[in-house]
Symmetry: C2
Subunit: 472 residues, 2 copies
Amino acid sequence: MKNNQQNVLIIGAGLCGSLLALRMGQRGYNVNVYEMRPDLRKTDISAGRSINLAFSDRGNKGIKLVGLEKKVQELCIPMNGRMLHDKDGNTFLSNYSGRTHEYINSISRGGLNALLLDEAEKHPNVKIHFNKKCKSVDFENTTALFKDYLTKDEFIEDADCIIATDGAGSALRKSYYLGKKFLFSFSQNYLTHGYKELAILPDKNGGYKTYKNALHIWPRGEFMVIALPNLDGSFTVTLFLSYDEGEYNFNNLTTPERVTEFFKKEFPDALELMPNLVDDFFENPTAPLGTVKCTPWHYKGNTLLMGDSAHAIVPFYGQGMNASFEDVVEFDAILENHDGDWEKVFTEFSKTRKKDTDAIADLAIDNFHEMKDHVANPLFQKKRKIEMALENHFPNTYFSKYSLVTFNEEIGYREAMLQGRAQDKAILNMLVDRDINTPYDESNIDELHQILEKIQNETKAVLEDDKIAGLH
Amino acid sequence: MKNNQQNVLIIGAGLCGSLLALRMGQRGYNVNVYEMRPDLRKTDISAGRSINLAFSDRGNKGIKLVGLEKKVQELCIPMNGRMLHDKDGNTFLSNYSGRTHEYINSISRGGLNALLLDEAEKHPNVKIHFNKKCKSVDFENTTALFKDYLTKDEFIEDADCIIATDGAGSALRKSYYLGKKFLFSFSQNYLTHGYKELAILPDKNGGYKTYKNALHIWPRGEFMVIALPNLDGSFTVTLFLSYDEGEYNFNNLTTPERVTEFFKKEFPDALELMPNLVDDFFENPTAPLGTVKCTPWHYKGNTLLMGDSAHAIVPFYGQGMNASFEDVVEFDAILENHDGDWEKVFTEFSKTRKKDTDAIADLAIDNFHEMKDHVANPLFQKKRKIEMALENHFPNTYFSKYSLVTFNEEIGYREAMLQGRAQDKAILNMLVDRDINTPYDESNIDELHQILEKIQNETKAVLEDDKIAGLH
């Protein structure tokens, strides 16, 4: 290991920053992490509310890298599929995969972050400084300006390199944009919808009021509610709704009566589980849903954006944290090969990684429409049914788009997107054109095998047609 | 006409701003235009160099709207097609359309802008103020802050509404972005390539050194040179080249010897026409190629972005000015229906227009690859040959993507893009799959008609497949 006495400054001790700090600590670098918030292990930042995230195979690669797989598993609640709730309160479980060992997990953001901070701080060469807000980065001189929120002092730190894992509102990215020292391509795109967090509290005995091992969805076409379980028996519930379109929207849900009316009409079974709805609704903020893309991520060997600061995405594929953890894994592999040459490491990382984070950003927006709308569409449901049967009977051969993205962590997001979209297009069109006849006999393996071959051939044709047209 | 005594403030007196000012003047509004540059009719801003643009049917809609068709025609040089130059100096003319009355024009930016300013100023209710730079816009109070470049004074102007036609670096757009008063989606994306303007000067007798009525292209795969004619016998030449990739790039073309070597190797016939090459190369700046998209364009009924300020695009479809003039036409039609209600006008305009300006932005990037590379590709050339034959024999039925975008001004850019891309995909795939057999007999109208029907059916199938897959 070369140059491990180098000083690495990390901006932001969220999930990505704390995993990176831990890994760089394991590699022996002198690591200083500056975080604007107080230490979440000492201060109850989220006001008692459990906020959870989907944790799956790509994220687990990062956790394995630092040897924490078992400790993280203890924080996980498996979710085997989507539990769909219709307006009449009927429920339908749609598995994420036809392979029973494939599922995603609900995990506490705070719990996971605390674990990573604890483990990072076990390394004497890693120091984490809280309440220090980065205001700007001088990327030409590899220094960063901070404000101490407690003393109100401002101070400058320098390092051999600076890595910004400071999220969607990144100070380094802002410095790139405002600096105008190089051509900086940048986009921030908001959906028409915002979100608000609500809660289903545990029952009297501390148990779950609805099925624990699923990601619950109430799909209603133009809006939806989802719920993910927490270890304490509660569910974190999120309403996704337009700011200003449709009969009910965030701008016109201004009274307790109207909010109750909306839930009574659209989500009656959810309302029953949430006597606390109105209080939550008016106490919790409405937040926007944005996607950030940019390039370049690095300035020479001085500075690098990583995680949300480089590629903030909407939450609908449950891949935000997973993508950031995969960043750390890919970064670490490149560092292994080019240790000592930050410019080479940063250049190589940006070059190989960006196509994949662009892809998951686009996939996440696809899934917004899939979750709020398509899951309730009969054609889409037929497709999912066929895919479940194929994954179940041909577990080593067939992988749906969802499986490719979520459970096939050895291929990149971009490859998963291209193959997955082509498969979806092939199956949907074959269903409409009756090239796949339904109903088919699910127990007839020959019939299923014929369907599999048809889908494989048609998928190949879709990809080939696109290639000839120069689309990819 | 209602409310025509309202005060309209226009920021920027470029092509879009001056056409808009003229039209609003014709409608009777009190129009004040503030332009940061000196009056181009009095100051030779471009240092003697003719800079030209492609002017075509969509732009001409705007010129017809204000009754200047004949005057503008006098500034135009028709270009019937692309004159392709290979490395051996062989040339090949590829027409823009199989219909002989369809062509584009080379027009002087300065000449056209001067005409529009002259015509606008004929209206006593239109005032144009030069050397006044807009620094920011207070969109909540409908006021703008200006700096007078001559007196150095700063002053604030207010109006009933403010329309910013101040180009890619728009002050209003910057105020939207920095103001953070609403969710502003915004992107700026740069190509890996930049451009530099050069010139082929007239011959001794003031004549054209190469064929006048074409847009000349020297396509070389990863870079290219183009040339458009000027009325004075010169051509404005543009080199499009990567900043830092490939054997020759802008970053390493640093000596006269290397520049000459590059042109001798890649563009020998162009070099012969440009004894002034080296001087031009080192005198003229290298400029970036960027695309800007954003939304919303308006803030209530107070302010509106129009033209490049709302949607700057790369120049490869020759549609930048045409799109901005079409903005004025569409805006004018909406104003006709909702005169007196600025918020309604601005909302409606943004809603109907953005899908089309997004499409031309994407098409312009497609054409970057088409011009520098595909035009020299045998498969692409086969496609163009078939399309020319179809347009020639079935002039009311078949329209290539280029024709749909450039000569079918009654349909929007988005429709042109969807239909045109589907046609291209259909033809390219049918050629590869030998569903269209070449060579075919061009004089055999039945054979051509069969090909037409095949293309129409396959195009429909492509569009239908995409629709089922939810792609559009």
